[in-house]
Symmetry: C2
Subunit: 315 residues, 2 copies
């Protein structure tokens, strides 16, 4: 019996795939050799979820993996029309990042409500300056993105007394549709982007949307950088259309040292780490092994991405 | 009918006492004239809760107010043996600060779990440096002080998935006694001081207690500065006995520019503001007016301090 070939697009540290010994022929690849190796792989594990190489290397009509798994929630870095049109199954790391990202968003929201960055700045100047800060309870959040991450954010903020509205692609029970978005962000204290990057969401936070928000509003992006028109956010913060923002994701990552975003007033910049809590890589590896065992047994896979929409559709 | 004399130990901004017009003869005082005015007052409102002048000015056996209210949760700044021995009723601002302080503690705990101070430091250096941070859910907190503030902290942290133990002066259902303290702090990720300052709590966080904590533990004080032996905390942080700390209160406030605490590694310093959210002074004023109306009607006052213990006893 021929073992399936499992191709791993590597990143350090490597995934722990010891449990697959004798059950897969594991081959490693970097971006340079990906195109040459893809036609001979049965399964592709996109362990380097920062790479966009799959798009360029995808063999189109030729021989290709039957299954692609990415160790990330977003699939924007690998989707291309040829992959979307193919019969290859794409799965993602749904579930791993939900609660960590929700905690991270709660940390940002509370830090902004309690003015922690200003406190740390004053501490650096050895200056005692008492200020009044905001109650979080009773404020309003609009969370954009109704997948498991957005829903976990809502659960966590609700536990802190925040009044939450959730916006998704299609309205359904407890979830607003896109037509409610402007109304909801116009009265929100917190606008939180946790949507996948798709044609519909690309650039959705633009000058008009920042203009709709309250001067006291704060904007947080833990989704994907291109959800935001960065120039518009720079203007919104510079002109005080909104009171503050926090970005964990950017149009170009890593953010270059010359970016104006590093020093923008009221902006917290973090290096795409909102979901990455100690042990996260082990969890991603273990999740893939579990999926591999199902695939090997011919069972249906969970976390299957709708390749037209660009995310795993909700239940 | 003679109106009761209400003496207000002033601080800016003054309390809004318009509702008491025609119902009290309101006199204002500063620290210098307090002793001269106290014997003629029926009620003393300690609006300047940072002042220790009541202790020195208290008339002992002489004529004195029948009721003293302080616009603070702690009463350590005004209690003295003569006041404790007198038949004067002392009330405090119980209830105003509970939830704001709990939110503030949640902000500190999440900021430390997610390493927000380090992120801001790296941002200032325009440096992109991905790190793994900690999950908050499933960590353990030991909250010291079982009054309404400590209980609000426990409620808020529990809502974030933290496993909480509460320590009070006397063990009762759901509350540990002091004999459990060392065991609880030895396994806590978060040790949070929210106790009143009394003879029993003075200096309770000393070198031995910091030595008992885990190297990964973080300590937060939102109670009163003298709960902590500051030199011992300096040593504990410098020698990495514990991983970090946040102090909102200090032995001497405001903290002088020469204090070593400003630049201690892993320490967040804030200027006694944890409970002070927008509108807090109005709430304190409204609470006093409500108490005054009860007192005027001869009804029992809530928030009566046990002057021997130094706080309002729990139910």
């Amino acid at each position: 019996m021929t073992l399936p070939t499992l191709l791993v697009l590597d990143a350090e540290p490597l995934p722990r795939l010891g449990r697959l010994t004798g059950r897969a022929r594991i081959e490693h690849t970097d971006e340079a050799t990906l195109a040459a190796k893809l036609p001979y792989a049965d399964v592709l594990l996109v362990w380097d979820f920062t790479s966009h190489a799959v798009r360029d290397a995808w063999p189109g009509e030729g021989p290709r993996p039957r299954w692609v798994h990415t160790a990330s929630a977003g699939v924007d870095h690998l989707m291309c029309p040829e992959l979307a049109a193919s019969d290859t199954t794409v799965t993602n790391a749904r579930g791993i990042f939900d609660e960590p990202i929700a905690e991270y968003v709660a940390a940002l929201v509370l830090a902004m409500a309690k003015e922690l960055p200003h406190t740390l700045e004053l501490q650096g100047q050895r200056t005692w300056q008492h200020r009044e800060t905001r109650r979080l309870k009773g404020t309003r959040a609009c969370v954009v993105g109704s997948g498991p991450i957005g829903r976990a954010i809502v659960r966590t903020l609700k536990a802190l007394g925040v009044i939450c509205a959730l916006v998704g692609r299609v309205p359904r029970t407890g979830i607003h549709g896109p037509s409610d978005l402007d109304r909801l962000i116009s009265r929100a204290d917190w606008v939180i982007a946790a949507a996948p990057l798709t044609e519909q969401t690309y650039g959705m936070f633009d000058a008009r949307r920042f203009g709709v928000m309250q001067p006291s509003a704060r904007f947080i992006n833990v989704g994907r950088g291109p959800l935001v028109v960065e120039e518009a956010l720079v203007e919104a913060l510079t002109k005080r259309w909104i009171a503050g923002a926090a970005l964990d994701v950017f149009a170009h990552e890593p953010l270059g040292p010359d970016s104006p975003l590093w020093e923008l007033p009221g902006l917290i910049v973090s290096p795409h780490m909102s979901g990455d809590t100690v042990g996260w890589r082990d969890e991603l590896g273990a999740q893939f092994v579990e999926l591999y065992e199902r695939w090997e047994a011919g069972r249906a896979l969970p976390n299957v991405v709708d390749k037209q929409r660009g995310y795993v559709p909700g239940r």
